[in-house]
């Protein structure tokens, strides 16, 4: 009897050891189109979120990091490289990278989790955002901004605001999409949108200056090109004496009066949560596209003061953060 129990325990122990040994770490391929603070923050967010969800690096997961270095022609080779290394999950940050990964892994069982893609349906990445059953092995997180909400916020900021100026690069998918959304939403709010095109960082100052005197407010969405030269837009807005709303809360200190949206680190964490879901066995065609919600409002009172603007209390009450006297405050610290 004792011997039998010993055997049983021994078998169970051996079985457990075998199972542990057989569970080799899952390779997670994280790829992005270019090195850029926002995209780098997404990458960090994904890794941090997975670590906190219990997926330990080098034990449960191994990370393969790649960047296309701004050249879309590198996107497919990167995805092919991941495939040859039998990556278990692909995290594709930005639209061109997501498109390449979806094509290379088309028809396979490898899940693709995209991130920082503004409109996955319009660009053809997924069939439907709400009903994932036809999306195959693709799911992910969209950084779509509530553009209409931002425009309404500007209107609330000052009743004299009718014309909104947007500086953008039509060559960037996300930016292009958001600008079109703004153009569509404006009439319904009684506003007009005036656009100025900057197809490279060098052209941003000129584009911004061209709007001075023609608009009552400046608006910039998640546009890598314009964000790289944001000082020029801040200067133009100050020149014109009008407020400037930027859809990136981490940029508040650079001078816009208002900053809304989400920061990309948080976006990365949300993506990491989806990856954790997938690693736990949930299929991508059962996970609808995640749209970030709960955009924050941050107010820069110093900038408002520079153009002699009083920010309505209603907005201040909703603000998640303030920038006054040269430093940032959060509501928890009291007003």
């Amino acid at each position: 009897m004792n011997r039998k129990r010993l055997c049983l325990v021994g078998c169970i122990v051996l079985g457990l050891i075998g199972a542990a040994a057989a569970a080799a770490p899952v390779k997670i391929g994280i790829c992005k189109i270019v090195e850029h603070p926002a995209l780098d923050a997404v990458e960090r967010g994904v890794i941090d979120a997975l670590a906190e969800a219990g997926f330990v690096a080098d034990r449960d997961v191994v990370y393969l990091l790649a960047s296309a270095q701004g050249d879309p022609n590198n996107a497919v080779p990167i995805a092919q490289s991941f495939r040859s290394q039998e990556v278990g999950v692909v995290v594709a940050i930005s639209t061109p990278m997501a498109l390449a990964a979806a094509e290379v892994f088309r028809g396979t069982e490898t899940p693709i989790v995209f991130s920082a893609v503004t409109d996955p349906v319009a660009v053809g990445l997924v069939e439907s955002a709400g009903d994932p059953s036809g999306n195959g092995n693709v799911t992910g997180v969209s950084d779509l901004i509530d553009v209409a909400g931002d425009l309404a916020l500007l209107k609330e900021l000052s009743p004299g605001i009718h014309r909104i100026g947007i500086v953008y690069n039509p060559g960037e998918a996300n930016s292009d999409r958001l600008t079109r959304l703004a153009l569509d939403a404006a009439p319904g709010l009684g506003l007009t949108v005036v656009t100025a095109i900057a197809d490279s960082t060098a052209n941003v100052p000129m584009a911004a200056q061209s709007l001075v005197g023609r608009v009552d407010a400046f608006y910039v969405t998640t546009d890598n090109t314009v964000v790289s030269a944001i000082d020029a837009v801040v200067a133009a807005a100050e020149n014109a004496g009008v407020p400037f709303l930027m859809a990136d809360p981490t940029s508040l200190e650079f001078g816009p009066v208002l900053a809304t949206g989400f920061d990309y680190y948080r976006h990365g964490r949300i993506t990491g949560a989806v990856v954790a879901d997938v690693l736990s066995g949930r299929r991508p065609d059962a996970i609808p596209v995640t749209y970030q919600s709960g955009a924050e409002i941050h107010v820069n009172l110093d900038a408002a003061g520079k153009i002699g603007l009083t920010v309505p209390t209603a907005i201040l009450e909703r603000a998640s953060g303030l920038f006054v006297g040269g430093r940032a405050w959060s509501p928890a610290q009291g007003n």
């Binding site: 090195e35 022609n73 990167i78 061109p96 979806a102 094509e103 998918a173």
Partner: protein, 301 residues
């Protein structure tokens, strides 16, 4: 490893068609043509937007992409021969114009071909017995067909005249050929091939991106120069072959750098440095080999 080499070969062939285009202007006509950074995307733009929006089959779409590229080359040719604008500048001007034109054709900065039947998927469906090698076989057949047609062309009366235009413009003028006509024809043919390559790359990659043309002249020249340093013959058949060989070597270098670069401690951001070093190595090896050969010769005499 075989999968990586297979993909490297696929890319070497499909980008090799663009390299053949660069060969025509840079080597044959001695005309540095920057239009290609724009016409490559024009081909991709036409080949993807037409496939998605019209009911045309992939082959017709590619033919139209070629024609669009030829038109771009025509523009550069007219700017240069009729308006007297210098070669480099004429190409740059067309390239800049194409940026806006390409965006218009696409209607958006990127187009996904995930859900349509691209030419690569059509081939896989038409010849299922080829399995995983279907795309490689198709691209190889296409690239070799283009090469052979080019060789044939360069042996015709007009083809000879085109080659002589780049070699000695005064001589060909003295034999009744208008060098301006030859240059325009060469630019049209070259950019047609570059656009065809762009269209094929878009179908191969499953998407088109308005920024995918940047650096086409560089990768094209890399292929021409690497190939030219390995195969020295001036016979036209060998020269076009060397371009394809150069493209295969270059793309293999890129793939290997991506896949194995981490072994020597390279990070994701070092990709461009690594591929440049590999190109330098590819250029240096034949030079070293030449020097060794010469030393052997002198020793034995």
């Amino acid at each position: 490893m075989t999968a990586i080499l297979l993909h490297a070969a696929e890319q070497g062939l499909v980008y090799g068609i663009a390299a053949l285009g660069v060969f025509i202007t840079y080597r044959v006509l001695a005309f540095p043509d920057l239009t290609v950074d724009g016409s490559f995307v024009t081909g991709a733009a036409v080949a993807s937007s037409l496939l998605v929006s019209s009911g045309l089959d992939p082959v017709s779409v590619m033919a139209i992409a070629f024609a669009a590229g030829a038109a771009a080359g025509l523009i550069t040719g007219i700017l240069h021969t009729q308006l007297g604008i210098k070669d480099l500048l004429a190409g740059v001007l067309t390239m800049i114009m194409l940026y806006s034109i390409n965006l218009r054709i696409m209607g958006r900065p990127n187009i996904s071909l995930l859900r349509v039947e691209t030419i690569t998927r059509a081939i896989g469906r038409a010849a299922p017995w080829l399995g995983d090698a279907a795309v490689l076989v198709f691209l190889a057949a296409t690239a070799i067909l283009v090469k052979l047609l080019l060789d044939l062309f360069f042996r015709t009366e007009i083809g000879l005249a085109l080659r002589a235009t780049g070699d000695n413009e005064g001589m060909i003028t003295a034999h009744g050929v208008n060098p301006k006509t030859m240059k325009v024809a060469g630019l049209a043919l070259s950019n047609g091939l570059v656009a065809l390559s762009g269209g094929l790359v878009a179908h191969y990659s499953g998407f088109a991106d308005v920024g995918m043309g940047l650096g086409t002249i560089v990768t094209g020249l890399a292929a021409v120069i690497i190939g030219g340093s390995l195969i020295r013959s001036r016979r036209i058949g060998w020269m076009t072959a060397s371009v394809l060989v150069g493209s295969l070597i270059y793309r293999t270098a890129v793939m290997l750098a991506l896949r194995y670069g981490y072994v020597v401690g390279f990070q994701a951001s070092d990709l461009k440095l690594v591929t440049s070093l590999l190109v330098v190595a590819a250029l240096v090896v034949p030079a070293i080999r030449g020097r060794v050969m010469r030393r052997v010769d002198t020793c034995s005499s």
